[in-house]
C-alpha cells in the first residue's frame, strides 16, 4: 500500500479526515463569532461609537474582502463536508430499528447538528440580505440596525436563530476538541463546561442586542 503518496488526499477522504475538516472550519467560525460579537457589542456604547467602529472596519479595505472570501470558503467547505457526512451516516444503517431509545449520551445539541446547521444557513442568508447587501448610501449602519429590529417578527426570528446557533455551538465546540484529539479523560468535563459557556456567551451576546434596541426605541 502506498501510504506515502497522496497522503493528504487519503487523510481528507477518511472518516477522521472529514471530521477534522468539520472541526477546523468550525473553529474558524468560532473565532469569527468572537470578533463579530466584540464588534456588535459596541452597539451598547451608542450611535457614534458603533458607526465609527463600522467606518474603521471598512478602512481595512482589501483585508476585509480577504476575510469575507475566507469566511465564504469556510462556509462552503463546512456545509458540503457536513452534508456528505450526513448522507454517509444515513446510509450506514439501511434497515432502521423498529424501536430505538437513547442511552443518555446524546444531548439536544448533538442529536440536532445537521438540522441546526441547516437552520443557521437559512439565517445567514437573511442576515446577509438585511445587513450586508443592504443599501447603505443614505443611512448609517446604526440606523439600519434600528430599522431592521423595529420589525417584531424579524426580532423574534433573530432571537430564535441565536438559540439555534447556541445549540449548534454547545455540541460543536466540545466536539471539535474531541475530533482534534485534544480531549483527554481529565479535561473532558472541563471542555464540556467551556463549550456550554461559550455557546451561552455567543447566544446571549447576540440575542440581547435586539432586546436592547427594542428597549431604547
Amino acid at each position: 500500500m502506498h501510504w506515502n503518496s497522496n497522503r493528504f488526499i487519503l487523510l481528507l477522504s477518511s472518516s477522521i479526515g472529514k471530521k477534522l475538516v468539520m472541526a477546523i472550519t468550525g473553529l474558524g467560525f468560532c473565532i469569527f463569532l468572537i470578533s463579530h460579537l466584540a464588534g456588535n457589542l459596541i452597539i451598547y456604547a451608542g450611535n457614534d461609537a458603533f458607526n465609527s467602529y463600522a467606518e474603521r472596519l471598512h478602512t481595512l479595505g482589501p483585508l476585509l474582502i480577504l476575510a469575507e472570501i475566507g469566511l465564504l470558503l469556510l462556509g462552503i467547505i463546512h456545509i458540503s463536508t457536513g452534508a456528505y457526512l450526513f448522507y454517509q451516516n444515513f446510509r450506514a444503517r439501511p434497515v432502521r430499528y423498529k424501536k430505538k431509545r437513547n442511552a443518555g449520551g446524546r444531548t439536544i445539541g448533538s442529536s440536532t447538528m445537521p438540522y441546526t446547521g441547516f437552520l443557521i444557513l437559512i439565517f445567514i442568508v437573511f442576515h446577509l440580505v438585511d445587513f450586508h447587501f443592504v443599501e447603505k448610501a443614505d443611512r448609517s449602519i446604526y440606523q439600519i440596525v434600528l430599522e431592521t429590529f423595529s420589525n417584531p417578527g424579524y426580532t423574534i426570528f433573530y432571537i430564535l436563530s441565536m438559540v439555534v446557533v447556541a445549540t449548534h455551538i454547545d455540541h460543536g465546540f466540545w466536539s471539535l476538541l474531541q475530533t482534534l484529539g485534544i480531549d483527554n479523560l481529565e479535561c473532558m468535563p472541563v471542555f464540556r463546561v467551556i463549550s456550554s459557556a461559550f455557546s451561552l456567551f455567543v447566544g446571549i451576546g447576540f440575542g440581547s442586542l435586539p432586546v436592547f434596541i427594542t428597549l431604547i426605541t
Binding site: S15, I16, G17, K99, K100, R106, Q178, T179, D183
Partner: protein, 256 residues
C-alpha cells in the same frame, strides 16, 4: 422444565425479529414468555421460549452466545431499543429478568448497521470487526525465549488506561447503538490499547492508518460525538479512546 409460578415469576410478551436469511425479508413475530423466573438471564428466558417453539415443531429463534458470563462478546441484541437491554454495563447474557415487570412487552431486534449483515433472526455477521483487527490490531513479536517480566517498564497509570481500552469484548453494541452506526469506539479502543504501551509503538503509524482505513471500507458511519456508544458499552469504554485514535491517526497521516 416448567418454572414454579408465584411472585418470583413473570409473564412477558415478546416481539422478536425473525429473518430466515440475509436476503430474505424479516418481520417482528410475537411470542409469549410465561412463568419466567426473575433469576433467569435474558438468554435463559429465550432458551425457555425456544424450547416451546421447538416442541411445537417450529424453527427456534437464532441467537449468538457463548460464555454467558459477560466476557466473550458473542451475545447481543437490541432490547426495547437499547443495546444489551436497559441496564448499564451489562451484556445481554448478564441481563437478569428481575429488571422486567410482569406483563411487559419486550421488542428484540438484531444489531443494525450496513457493516453487520443479519445472518438469521438475531444473529449478525460481525466479521467487519475481525477485518479491522486483521488490518493492524496486533503486535508483531520475534519468537524466542520469553522476555523478562519487567524488562520494559510501564507506568501504572498508563497500564491502567491500556487495560481499560483492552476491556473491549468486540460485541458490537457501540456500532449498534450509535445513531450513525459508527465503529469508532471499537476501533479507538483497539488502537488505544497498543498506542499506550511500548510494545505497540513500533507499528503505531501503520496500525492507525490501516485500521481506520479498514473501518471506513467496511461501511461504518462517521462518529459525531454523540456518546451513545460509551453509554451502551457493557465494559464502559470511554470515548476518550476515540480522541486518542484521532490523535494517532493524525500523527500517522501528517508526520511521515
Amino acid at each position: 422444565m416448567k418454572q414454579a409460578s408465584g411472585e418470583k415469576c413473570i409473564n412477558l410478551k415478546l416481539k422478536v425479529w425473525r429473518q430466515k436469511a440475509e436476503e430474505s425479508n424479516g418481520r417482528l413475530e410475537s411470542f409469549k414468555a410465561e412463568n419466567i423466573s426473575k433469576d433467569m438471564s435474558f438468554l435463559e428466558m429465550l432458551d425457555v421460549v425456544n424450547e416451546e417453539i421447538i416442541l411445537s415443531g417450529k424453527d427456534p429463534i437464532a441467537l449468538d452466545h457463548d460464555c454467558r458470563e459477560g466476557i466473550c462478546g458473542s451475545c447481543g441484541a437490541m432490547v426495547n431499543g437499547r443495546a444489551h437491554g436497559p441496564e448499564k454495563g451489562t451484556t445481554l447474557c448478564q441481563l437478569h429478568m428481575r429488571h422486567f415487570s410482569n406483563g411487559d412487552t419486550v421488542v428484540i431486534e438484531p444489531w443494525r448497521s450496513r457493516a453487520f449483515k443479519v445472518v438469521k433472526d438475531l444473529v449478525v455477521d460481525r466479521s467487519a470487526f475481525d477485518k479491522i483487527i486483521q488490518a493492524g490490531g496486533y503486535i508483531s513479536v520475534n519468537t524466542g525465549g520469553a522476555p523478562d517480566g519487567n524488562a520494559i517498564p510501564v507506568p501504572q497509570e498508563v497500564a491502567e488506561k491500556a487495560m481499560d481500552a483492552a476491556e473491549c469484548i468486540g460485541c458490537g453494541a457501540c456500532a449498534a447503538a450509535c445513531p450513525n452506526a459508527s465503529a469508532m469506539l471499537f476501533t479507538g479502543a483497539k488502537i488505544s490499547q497498543f498506542a499506550l504501551l511500548p510494545q505497540g509503538h513500533p507499528e503505531a503509524k501503520k496500525r492507525a492508518l490501516a485500521m481506520v482505513g479498514e473501518m471506513d471500507k467496511q461501511g461504518f458511519g462517521n462518529c459525531t460525538n454523540e456518546k451513545e456508544c460509551e453509554a451502551e458499552c457493557p465494559k464502559g469504554i470511554s470515548i476518550i479512546n476515540i480522541a486518542r485514535m484521532n490523535r494517532e491517526f493524525l500523527k500517522s497521516s501528517i508526520l511521515s
